[in-house]
Assembly symmetry: C2
Homo-oligomer: 235 residues x 2
DNA sequence: TGTGGTCTGTGGTACAACCAGAGCCAGAAC
DNA sequence: GTTCTGGCTCTGGTTGTACCACAGACCACA
């Protein structure tokens, strides 16, 4: 008998998901005034803490605006939102990401990757190559696209961390969820092997301290993603 | 008699600031195990809610790692951190940002600004120009560098929002605090007028739908910031 | 030897109570 | 009639408290 794991979501998370879905789906419209915390608490049969904490989370994600002692309204989240909003939008099953959105994310990633490559080629050590090589091995051995995408992200983040730049790894970490989602879809469509090969080639150029080829390699496979393979994200 | 405003910071914020400063200053070292929540609560004479909530905030900022039912340890925040960490680091008075860090942030900004300019020149409307023009006016009328920097950020964010791209404004919003800090320092050194003129010129090119000149304008003043004016950030 | 029970201490969660401020309005002051 | 003061009510903000599940150590016993 195969037993599945049981997990009990917290009331707070349930509350956040309920309201967030209502906002993304359009059931709650931009500018609409939300019930007060006490009304939420009473009607949903939870304590005010759950509601207060949940509304604050929704504020962090850019979905609502809270005016102390006045109330909360649904925000224009493309305007007020941030990276967390993007993550939430990408995880929302119902939303269809357009070609243009995916293009933007990939262009940002291309830019970040080039910044990293420029810096790491100048200073890469044997220790760095050792760690990165092991990640490549793990990536190749990954069984599911999700697992492979996660390791690919770690590979990228490790590159950034070891590039010596302070800012870039912090920025990259913020884009974690959206980027993993995109690479997961990429692997599902084209197979893990393709992604591993791209990274392995980049690794080889970095090992040779060959900035020019490494840059060309990044530009090549990111442009390929951007220009040629966008149709898979249209679903 | 002139009365100054009184504001009472919450216990939670005080707690977060205390621990965060200890981590950034190096008083608490990476890998060091923190006291338990109950120990914190007892010794600092606050309730566990304050400590629990504060530790979670520190986790969000990438400064600690919480292992449920085991304890919390100080994280390698350049590795685990995100945009929030960057914001916290920049707001920490004691830290000296290196030329390289500032260069990274400005390069990211340059890239983002170019993405925005490309898109908005194709689709800018009279309504857009109206709103942007008003912001320019407010920027010129700003009395303090802080105020001017805030409006400059709004101008940039408004540009991104009206460019029609969904991702870029979300990304820009995430970089809000660091970018404002940098522009504030820029204004303090060179005066508000300089910044306003840069933005006004960009505005004019956008109004003319002149992508090439607008791009050149951005590259010009961002490179000037990056290459020439970095010494002001070394303090 | 190892299995399962129990106890202790941890962070996770939820609830209740109190706080300060915004808005409204009756009624005093003029 | 107008102004404005003081208090009342409702809001979100904050904090103290209670209970939960789980990790780990320990132990009794088969």
């Amino acid at each position: 008998m195969k037993l599945e794991q049981l997990t009990a979501p917290s009331l707070r998370d349930l509350f956040v998901k309920t309201i967030q879905d209502a906002i993304i789906s359009g059931e709650l419209k931009i500018g609409e005034v939300l019930p007060t915390e006490r009304e939420f608490a009473e009607q949903m049969n939870v304590s005010r803490s759950v509601v207060n904490s949940g509304l604050n989370e929704l504020k962090n994600r850019g979905f609502i605006e809270i005016k102390p002692r006045k109330g909360a309204v649904v925000a224009d989240y493309i305007y007020t939102g941030n990276i967390n909003t993007l993550t939430a939008l990408m995880e929302y099953r119902g939303i269809a990401f357009t070609k243009e959105s995916v293009r933007s994310i990939l262009e940002i990633r291309k830019f970040a990757e080039l910044m990293v490559v420029d810096r790491i080629c100048e200073r890469v050590t044997e220790d760095d190559l050792d760690v990165l090589g092991k990640l490549l091995g793990e990536m190749a051995a990954a069984k599911t696209p999700k697992e492979a995408a996660l390791i690919a992200f770690e590979f990228w983040h490790e590159l950034a961390y070891r590039s010596g730049d302070i800012i870039v790894p912090l920025g990259i970490q913020s884009f974690k969820a959206p980027v993993i989602t995109l690479w997961e879809r990429y692997c599902t469509k084209y197979g893990i092997h393709e992604m591993v090969e791209n990274n392995r080639q980049l690794y080889d150029y970095i090992a040779d301290r060959d900035v020019v080829s490494a840059r060309a390699c990044v530009i090549d496979y990111m442009d390929k993603s951007i220009e040629g393979d966008l149709e898979i994200y249209d679903t």
